[in-house]
């Protein structure tokens, strides 16, 4: 029996044990945190897992259930488990220094909270770099009521970016040399190639422009050299989900990576997105979608042929990919598609969108760029470039001028327009088959959780960083130097994220929902991670309905650790509901 099969059997066994201990309305679950071996086929290293394996078991809860989860720490260091996306009392949220003290070696901590939602979520350690080292698992919550879509079977498809180096080593290397893991940098040969194609002067001017900023157009993934896994298995180890032709299969995609975004497609199948971050959305048929770190998307596919289909996930920078398989029998494997060319950042991603663009012929006056709702852009002629709803605010011109009279028509890169990328961004995704690529703007809440109302105040959070020092921050201040953000119970806060860096940041608020402003008012989707592309401004609103103190951070592990992190304190609350926040000084 191959070792991975044996391991899978163990995982199933552990999952079964977990399932058996759970009763209908008051389930008890047991998790152990263990040293495990992560074996990707290309490398094998010591890591951290749950119930003896990484990924850990799939925890299956029922909406309305009161869960008790006993977590035993078998490590020689403290640990913690955060229930990612779950709405629960803050002292159950599992962030050391904010929710509680963590779980000491040898100790068992018992979590106890009601399940008040349904959908696909996940759990992971919130201590050090245990999550990148393998400490993650999936959560599936069965809803109380019938779901608005139908499927015959379901699979969790949990992605990660397993790296041969430990998290601590990676952090240290990044601090020593921020491009330590960037092995896609432009070389002499790229220069010669560009010289041939664009001319020597243009190629040199381009190098000079980037060199002037001391930034790299290849800096799409800080961390390369990982092996992506689907449910713990690499392309060669080929995770396989079985189906019968004609069945509707629900795939619960979870991106548990430390750093890697993935573009996911199943060649030959249309995917219908029915859920994002655990909340149902109006179904969107797509050919491909991008999953930010820590997001989840549920899609339904209906494979009709008696054959193998590849579930293909390419990292955003195209440095790595993984293939899993949907098949009618074990042992079948679909062809592995080729990886596409790596994207390059453009000056648009640097917040210098329009340098050198033709500002000639078209009046785009009134583009004041606070228009996630697209309203001010109605009636404008964009030359068919499909720029309606330009949520992005990357329109600070280097010379301070406005964008009146810009010509966006016929600009090549505008063909792949998505308001959640800077116009002209090199990161705007396109589907491999030329079809539909999911955008945030396509997401609409199937059933809004809250009554729609005006936000009571706006909080601006500039996403900032110093790439060369590998310090990441919010409003220029890193976590260790920052005061907590104070919110009042009962407010509706509008967060304005202005990404001033050239990296993409998946911002994650604990404990309360993030209502992403896609310009659809009450139908705006309800999420727990909001990805903010470079050079863009994105808004989200939060109904402050959870007393206590919470974490808020970029979910890229090494960005969070190096400072893009805040403590959020929710003050006040109705009698009996206001939280007993420990008065002692806390530091997370």
């Amino acid at each position: 029996m191959p070792s991975w099969l044996l391991r899978r059997a163990l995982v199933l066994g552990a999952g079964l044990a977990v399932a058996l201990t759970g009763a209908a309305n008051a389930g008890e679950y047991n998790l152990t945190v263990d040293r495990v071996t992560v074996d990707t086929g290309t490398f094998s290293r010591s890591g951290i897992g749950y119930n003896g394996a990484s990924p850990g078991p799939v925890l299956r809860f029922k909406e309305g259930e009161e869960v008790t989860i006993n977590v035993t720490n078998n490590l020689s260091e403290p640990t913690s488990i955060h229930w990612h996306g779950l709405i629960l009392p803050f002292d159950q949220d599992g962030v050391p220094g904010i929710s509680y003290d963590g779980i000491a070696p040898g100790d068992t901590f018992t979590y106890n909270f009601p399940i008040v939602q349904a959908g696909t979520y996940w759990f992971h350690s919130h201590s050090g770099f245990q999550e990148p080292d393998g400490a993650y698992g999936a959560i599936v919550i069965e809803p109380e009521k019938r779901e608005p879509f139908r499927y015959d079977r379901e699979y969790v498809v949990q992605l990660t970016d397993a790296h041969p180096h430990s998290g601590n080593r990676i952090m240290r290397n990044l601090k020593m040399m921020p491009d330590y893991y960037n092995r896609q940098q432009r070389t002499l040969f790229d220069f010669l190639k560009d010289s041939r194609e664009q001319g020597f002067d243009a190629a040199l001017a381009d190098r000079a422009a980037w060199g002037d900023m001391r930034m790299m157009p290849t800096d799409v993934e800080d961390l390369q050299g990982f092996t992506p896994l689907i449910n713990g298995r690499s392309t060669e180890q080929n995770w396989t989900g079985l189906f019968k032709p004609g069945e509707r299969v629900r795939l619960r995609f979870i991106n548990s990576s430390a750093m890697a975004y993935f573009d996911i497609r199943i060649p030959g199948l249309k995917m219908t997105v029915v859920q994002a971050d655990g909340n149902n959305v109006l179904p969107v048929p797509v050919d491909e979608f991008r999953i930010a770190v820590a997001e989840t998307y549920d899609v339904i596919v209906q494979p009709k042929d008696n054959r193998a289909y590849a579930i293909f996930a390419e990292s955003m920078a195209r440095t790595a990919s993984v293939r899993g398989t949907l098949a009618t029998a074990e042992g079948m494997a679909a062809e592995v598609p080729d990886q596409r060319m790596p994207p390059r950042l453009t000056m648009a991603d640097m917040g210098m969108a329009h340098e050198g663009m033709d500002h000639g012929s078209m009046d785009m006056g009134g583009m004041s760029h606070t228009m996630p709702d697209g309203s001010t852009m109605q009636g404008m002629n964009h030359g068919g470039a499909g720029m309606t709803g330009m949520a992005s605010g990357a329109h600070k011109m280097p010379d301070g001028s406005t964008m009146k009279g810009m010509d966006h028509s016929g600009h090549g890169s505008m063909a792949a327009s998505d308001p959640f990328y800077a116009p002209g961004s090199g990161l705007t995704p396109t589907a491999a088959n030329g079809g539909k690529f999911l955008s945030y703007k396509d997401l609409r809440a199937q059933k809004p959780l809250y009554e729609h109302r005006e936000a009571t105040r706006e909080i601006e959070m500039r996403l900032t960083g110093n790439m060369e020092r590998y310090i990441w921050s919010i409003n220029g201040v890193k976590f260790s130097d920052a005061e907590p953000v104070r919110l009042q119970y009962g407010e509706r806060v509008r967060f304005k994220f202005v990404n001033e860096t050239m990296m993409t940041h998946p911002m994650h608020l604990h404990g309360m929902w993030s209502i992403l402003d896609v310009g659809k008012g009450k139908w705006n989707p309800i999420k727990h991670v909001v990805s903010v592309a470079p050079g863009t401004t994105v808004f989200m609103e939060t109904e402050v309905d959870a007393p206590g103190q919470w974490a808020f951070h970029c979910h890229l592990s090494y960005h969070a650790d190096s400072g893009m992190f805040r403590k959020i304190v929710v003050e006040g609350g109705p009698d009996g509901k206001s939280a007993q926040v420990p008065s002692s000084k806390t530091e997370g």
Partner: protein
């Protein structure tokens, strides 16, 4: 002099007290040069290495630069520096420290160090130091990593050491600079941890210093073939 030195230790002490205790600590070892040099009639082992420990706000750096002549069986140069680095801009750190030279044939020299270290535009790595003592000098180093491929890297470097006062015992005369120009072609063999290289290293002593060197019966113009490896851990 003594006052200058004590001030150099008080300043970082203040800075260190302000660095929050929650700051994460990092460490690393980097040897840009660790090599065998073979030139006209002389052979030597040489290194230029830093070891650091610190936070985003303050780094403690030990720097060692040496040339060990195999014929003489002795350190021709041996510089030891203890440096404190604090950020002063996005790309540059200010440096204060002490430098202690202890070549086998003497004389020993102690300097206070004031400097700037960082990344200039167009990816030039710059080290500019002022060495303060009764024999002050200035040093300017610049290095560039030219990527031929992502693993094969050509690193040209220039180092200019400029004595600001006569120090005949060390073969240096005021404003008679020593110029070192190198070109090293490396291959990242093991990650970035070990990168073997080959290259050339040219040392030229100019002006009055050149005369002092020649008077000692040494060459003021030496081209060496070098082979070694870069280390980063």
């Amino acid at each position: 002099m003594r006052r200058t030195l004590s001030a150099m230790f008080v300043l970082p002490a203040i800075l260190f007290a302000n660095a929050a205790s929650s700051e994460e600590w990092f460490w690393g070892i980097q040897a840009e040069q660790l090599e065998w040099r073979s030139g006209e009639g002389s052979e030597a082992y040489a290194w230029d290495a830093d070891a650091f420990v610190g936070t985003d706000e303050l780094k403690f750096v030990l720097r060692s630069e040496a040339e060990y002549g195999t014929e003489e069986d002795s350190f021709e140069t041996l510089e030891n520096q203890f440096r404190l680095q604090v950020p002063v801009s996005n790309f540059f750190d200010a440096v204060v420290g002490v430098r202690y030279d202890s070549p086998d044939n003497g004389p020993y020299r102690t300097y206070g160090v004031l400097g700037l270290k960082g990344l200039a535009k167009q990816w030039f790595e710059v080290d500019a130091d002022l060495y303060l003592s009764e024999y002050p000098s200035a040093r300017f180093e610049i290095e560039y990593e030219g990527l031929i491929t992502n693993q094969i890297i050509f690193t040209p470097s220039i180092e200019l050491d400029l004595p600001l006062a006569d120090d005949e015992a060390t073969g240096r005369a005021a404003f008679g600079p020593k110029l070192e120009i190198g070109g090293r072609l490396s291959y990242d063999l093991l990650d970035r941890a070990i990168a073997p290289y080959v290259g050339v290293h040219w040392e030229r002593t100019l002006g009055e210093s050149g005369r002092l060197v020649r008077d000692e019966g040494e060459d003021d113009d030496v081209v060496s073939f070098v082979v070694g490896f870069r280390v980063m851990f």
